[in-house]
Symmetry: C2
Subunit: 646 residues, 2 copies
Amino acid sequence: MNDTSHGPVGPTEQARAALRPLTGDAVRLEPAGLLGGWQHRNAEATLPHCIAQLDTSGNLANLRRVTGEVEVDFAGFWFADSDVYKTLEAAAWELGRSGGSDALRGFLADAAALLEKAQDPDGYLGSYYQVDHRDRQWTELHFSHELYCAGHLIQAAVAAARSAPDDAAAQQIVAIARRFADLLVQRYGPAGEAAVDGHPEIETALVELYRVTGHRPYLELAGLFVDRRGHGLLDDGRFGARYHQDHQSVRDADEVTGHVVRQLYLLAGATDVAVETDDAQLLQAVERLWDSALDSRTYLTGGQGSRHRDEAFGDPYELPPDRAYAETCAAIGSFQWAWRLLLATGRSQYADEMERVLLNGIAGSTAQDGKAFFYSNPLQLRTGHDGSHEDAPSQRLPWYSCACCPPNLARLMASLHSYVATGDDSGLQLQLYATGTFRAGGHTVEVDTRYPWDEQITVTVSDAGPGPWTLALRIPGWCSSARVSLNGEPVEVGEDAGYLRLTRAWRAGDRVRLTLAMPPRLVAAHPRVDAVRGTVALVRGPLVYCLEHADLPSTGPLADLVLEDLELDATARIHVAPHDDGIAPVTLQVTVRGRATGPAPLYRQLPTAGAAPAGTATVAAIPYFLWANRAPGPMRVWIPAAAREE
Amino acid sequence: MNDTSHGPVGPTEQARAALRPLTGDAVRLEPAGLLGGWQHRNAEATLPHCIAQLDTSGNLANLRRVTGEVEVDFAGFWFADSDVYKTLEAAAWELGRSGGSDALRGFLADAAALLEKAQDPDGYLGSYYQVDHRDRQWTELHFSHELYCAGHLIQAAVAAARSAPDDAAAQQIVAIARRFADLLVQRYGPAGEAAVDGHPEIETALVELYRVTGHRPYLELAGLFVDRRGHGLLDDGRFGARYHQDHQSVRDADEVTGHVVRQLYLLAGATDVAVETDDAQLLQAVERLWDSALDSRTYLTGGQGSRHRDEAFGDPYELPPDRAYAETCAAIGSFQWAWRLLLATGRSQYADEMERVLLNGIAGSTAQDGKAFFYSNPLQLRTGHDGSHEDAPSQRLPWYSCACCPPNLARLMASLHSYVATGDDSGLQLQLYATGTFRAGGHTVEVDTRYPWDEQITVTVSDAGPGPWTLALRIPGWCSSARVSLNGEPVEVGEDAGYLRLTRAWRAGDRVRLTLAMPPRLVAAHPRVDAVRGTVALVRGPLVYCLEHADLPSTGPLADLVLEDLELDATARIHVAPHDDGIAPVTLQVTVRGRATGPAPLYRQLPTAGAAPAGTATVAAIPYFLWANRAPGPMRVWIPAAAREE
């Protein structure tokens, strides 16, 4: 056992990985920065909120039914245990990051004790099946989520092992998870039944457990679970084989399809398997599927999943902004998968995608106070929207009947520092830009930035460490003009596959200043994205912007109009307002033309003129991730482009 | 009992109805016409296909389990009995229309005997509950469909009573239905439990049974079922109150919402109640809701339901063509509701809508051979569409796991002749145009037309009957130029609220020729319909046209392009090709510009030019209702409009 990772994904020394996560306590994000602020909010608000919800929503009571401590009805979905495990994982990462609070350590210890008591002698854990449905245990893997829950238990154990190897509760959780994992190896391993779970998750968990323990049967079982897909082992039920990722083998598939979270979790696991088994063919297949997702099935925010029905990827270019499902868990899955691909290949495109989905799709799912969440993340909310359904509420909700997303956010945010930088033999790579301290190979740098609000990033070498080494700075794909200076002097260095690489014998105090020019940009979608034809989106740096009702003019010629009445004058100058005192640190001031689009026939024969323009005004566009933090109301990312006046 | 209707909806003499359906055997459609051809196909293909499916899909076996004739598992959904009843209703209408075949009479007699044997002594019928789930009978009305099934049984009985009052099997079905209806009056009437069913249908059925029997408690119970909605009597479950139409009282609601078929069936029933109880307030509410549906929630084809998820109406102006659910049963429900509103008010807008949804949304759901059907009716199918899900197949399927639509089509088509014309004290109104014979008040006319392929309709008086009377000819809302001649001489007569009314002392042999000018039209949607911004649709007369892959050029500059690569040159002349030898009697020849839209970034920064035009070509657009009768492939109703060349 030589696992040195202190965050999610720790490729072994033998792994086919171009980059390595930073080791030990080599990273610290400062709360003053955006990402560090999110981690702080997560520790202070989201994680305690999740822990409290496990009580009020009955998840812990479900386990106490198993131990006989309480006599109540089972509460929630049959996979409710997974919420406990995800929260445990978040708590474990938080323990490693900050040392945690007494309350947090108490939660970990109590939960570990409860799980140990609830676990069957053979290692099985699953509160839904252990009390009322013993007869159905192991019999309905297509929908039971039994291995999905086991996977999340194992992920919690991995976090515990990496974060607090000496903590008694952490060790207890690892032991519980290993008992369950050993049972799975016995039951479904090479000598066992050829089965898979209807919801992937166990694959990546087992590889990670292998990395922590060095116990190779876990890796082998993960490989079996990946390669058993596409052989009709699952009862398709009414959702069909694609939903359950059993329609085709991962190696043969050309396109992402089916239930988005299932697809992404499976591909993350397949990537882990490919990396640890040096399986170039599998890695190639996984990268091909990533391309298929990014080429035609990803929202501008990085969200994925065009259909509420079956929570599915849609057809190519089917990307409706209003009915975007773009589940929060899918965005997290995309981020985690991209991280694995980045480590495997070193390609900057994966870090680009991590940045896009983190700062837009994922960030938008949490309210400013850290205690309310979106499950689906649409890119448009209409005037007259019916927000009564929890699938498409008008504002973030504190919890959900299927509460997979909030604790998923908690575990991501608690480990967010681990995703920001990487190392390799050449030195240190800054992948995301955040204020904090980063160390690799004995080299330490401090990053200071107001990114993404500001285009300047300052990197100071605080401990040069031995010999010459390379500081690699990712140049985001969106950036067409990056400048860098060293100790105040401009440095001429060409972009190398998405990075600026500065190699020298560094000295403590050396200061690199990177400027990523952030002029506001107008973006159009591929012409096959029918749903946003004739519209443009506003982007600045990595941030997608939107128009929200609260910023509409309350006086002047457009005072009586609604958001749908506004068209963007794409020829007018966009003004960056960096000191906005409203909801966002930086807004974009844009020129819109109003045109009353109220009562009129739904279909009209051409040529018929539309309503005459009512006038123009300047309005503020805000970052998408900050929408719905004021009174509920319409929002849109894709704004109709005003036709030239004739 | 003075019911004189021989078709669906027979307002009593006391009813608040502006128009009356034609009575007796006063209508006959000729198979040579489009509508008569559909009736013929229904009798020859669809209805026998449905009857056969009741055997192969296990619906009849479910009832034979109740009688103890077979020992098999229950098959299909818990409301599978309704498919039997709808098919029975279709068979009854067909018996009245054509006399039926021996096979059809045999089916009616066998089914009637089976139902009588299966019925509980107290009148209850419900094969799902009668065998395995007695303990749950009446306990889960929010989802049980028990009254929904009862409603369809009653509708079958109404059809039997009106079509074949002297037939023994018909009388048996009426007796069975009345026993169940009497049980419902006892159980849920004024002295019974205040409950409603989660799926409306019983309301309109009870009013119709009242019309057939004169038994007023049926009408009173229907009124109770309408007015009990919106009081939280239903367990909302995970679908919410709107889905089940329990969110608001019908009288107070401003907008259609929730599950579309539930909403439409409820409003049809509410209309029936309003008409029979002379309830002006309720009728006003229902008309207001009709406006809300037509103003912002109806597809160009007349289809309704923008969401696959929950089979629901969407937000206002949420009308995606690719993910249009537009369920066939919803289109049928819209047609049936519009018929009720037409009779109640005499307003031509309701007949306009009947025509639109019949010739587009409903017609498109059945394959040319009458043996395959769409459940959802999208307005676009993309290149690369995954048609593996039965919710969104690439072609019509012979049957569905939830097979509500095919027998619903069968009962509509078997009674289609009843919807074509109306009568009142002034004379006869032709509402839809179809070749056939129509009689009202002793006046008989014969209609000869190739409508909607041709713009000429010839009406010949074959039996003038007594005194002067008015022949009213509906001028469809889409028609801006209608001309009429009498015995070869032009007649100057102004349009009166949607009709041309010719009043005179008619003589046998008088010939009226109506010409409804049908120039091809380009149509645009309201600017709030984001999903089709920048596109136009092709319409001729009442028919919506579409482009389908099979008509794309296989030679020339566009030979390598896909449907998504084509833009319509909206300035070019559209040529009507009336003697097309392909799939459609009339195609529209349009000019398209091709532009390869293949591999390219999903999002691009502006200004960036798109692909250069590859050339232009003339392609055929076909009527929407005929799509997907060739090899499966892309189709679209809304076609991107080519920008002017600069």
